[in-house]
Point group: C2
Chain length 223, copies 2
């Protein structure tokens, strides 16, 4: 469903070239919950940005559902990002002067088959706080609004960069169980970047990165 | 060294009052590494903001080094924040158009006994990236700049809100070991909010919070 062939990305900074990703190869099947893990600076966010059409790779190919998104022009990428991708950013990116509920509603406005904002906010445990602004919410509460916003779009692929970083263990686990359930019920393909190794047994696939490349590709038979 | 007596903080939002902290009582000895832990929304950031003079409590007393900071006027609070406190925020708060090194240098400009920016950035493993801007750094790299910036000020108390949230296990451990060493060598009092329960054995004291109040106060004899 998702295929990466020899994907590379580098940043040129004066005389130095930083290789953020080098010769990255992997596949992810439709409806899988895949986890990308690895040390700080390994290239995880870089890969997710490429998968989400937020950034272009310099070498290699990215194919999703048969289409080569690495060859998309800007307009095709915009459509791809708007219709097919749900994104949870490493830094929550909520709109400060909209409430939690309004943040979710805005994200689903141009969506074909959105979920109800109230329902999704209940699913992440925020029914009591949905009329609050981000500045009136704790770090973990803001992170959950960001997750609700991405899920509500009912995307083909859901990309999450450290979705449980600011959550305590039990809230984090229930969020992951929620993502796992949605994965299985709606055939949504979920890719999660995390440092939390406790998550990896719940995934169908674990992609370990190191220094910009894939060091290990593990398939779990019974997650 | 640090004493909290019956500290409370609430937010009034229309008809509803949210009790962010209620009847909080604990002491922390000079030179201790204390960890505050607890579920999302428990009141941890609220407490840290009060300890750091960023926010005032509504009830109770906060005493540091014999002074009642809960009674400080705005000018005393400003001096307190500038000279005595190092703060690592839950969201990194780096200045986007200054490099990592410049961010640290700025923070130590009005400091009495700062550490060298270059040295501290080496301590957190960023000697190769100190001339980069925050947007050119990974999430974990930005978090480490924020930590370096707080440490370099050589403060009396160092307050860290989830300092290792975006770091992989091994980088996170080395950062905590660094904080633990500084605690012991410089008699700096360090207070860390974290969800990472693996950290708690390294602390001298663990304060567990739940629903705005302290549920458990544990002293480790041999951390
Ligand atoms: N705009 C940029 N310019 C230069 N270098 C960059 C840029 N963005 C990322 N990098 C570098 O590319 C490498 C990979 O970065 P990336 O953000 O993908 O890491 P990561 O695996 O997400 O790390 P973390 O766990 O710390 O968030 C890092 O060395 C980073 O410093
Ligand atoms: N400005 C505000 N207005 C209203 N309520 C607030 C405000 N700031 C915090 N709260 C509420 O106070 C409670 C405690 O918040 P706090 O940020 O201290 O939690 P926390 O323990 O840091 O949580 P997390 O682990 O999710 O970061 C939460 O229920 C939060 O929603
Ligand atoms: Mg990252
Ligand atoms: Mg918090």
């Amino acid at each position: 469903y998702i295929e990466l062939h020899k994907v590379g990305k580098h940043y040129r900074m004066g005389e130095i070239t930083i290789a953020a990703a080098t010769d990255v190869n992997f596949v992810i099947e439709k409806g899988e919950l895949a986890v990308i893990t690895g040390p700080s600076g390994a290239g995880k966010t870089t890969l997710l940005n490429i998968l989400g059409g937020m950034d272009a790779c310099d070498e290699g190919e990215v194919i999703l559902d048969g289409k080569a998104i690495s060859k998309f022009n800007p307009r095709q990428l915009t459509t791809y990002r708007r219709e097919d991708v749900g994104f949870v950013f490493q830094f929550y990116n909520l709109i400060q002067n909209l409430t939690a509920k309004e943040n979710v509603e805005l994200a689903t406005e141009i969506c074909k088959t959105p979920m109800s904002a109230v329902q999704v906010l209940e699913l992440v445990g925020l029914s009591e706080r949905m009329n609050n602004f981000p500045s009136q919410l704790s770090g973990g509460e803001q992170q959950r609004v960001a997750i609700a916003r991405a899920i509500a779009r009912n995307p083909k692929i859901l990309l999450c960069d450290e979705p449980t970083g600011a959550l305590d263990d039990s809230t984090g686990k229930s969020i992951l169980k929620l993502l796992q359930d949605m994965c299985r019920e709606t055939k949504m393909t979920v890719i999660i970047i995390t440092h939390n190794m406790a998550i990896t047994p719940m995934a169908d696939r674990v992609i370990r990165m190191k220094n910009g490349t894939v060091s290990q590709n593990i398939v779990n038979e019974h997650p």
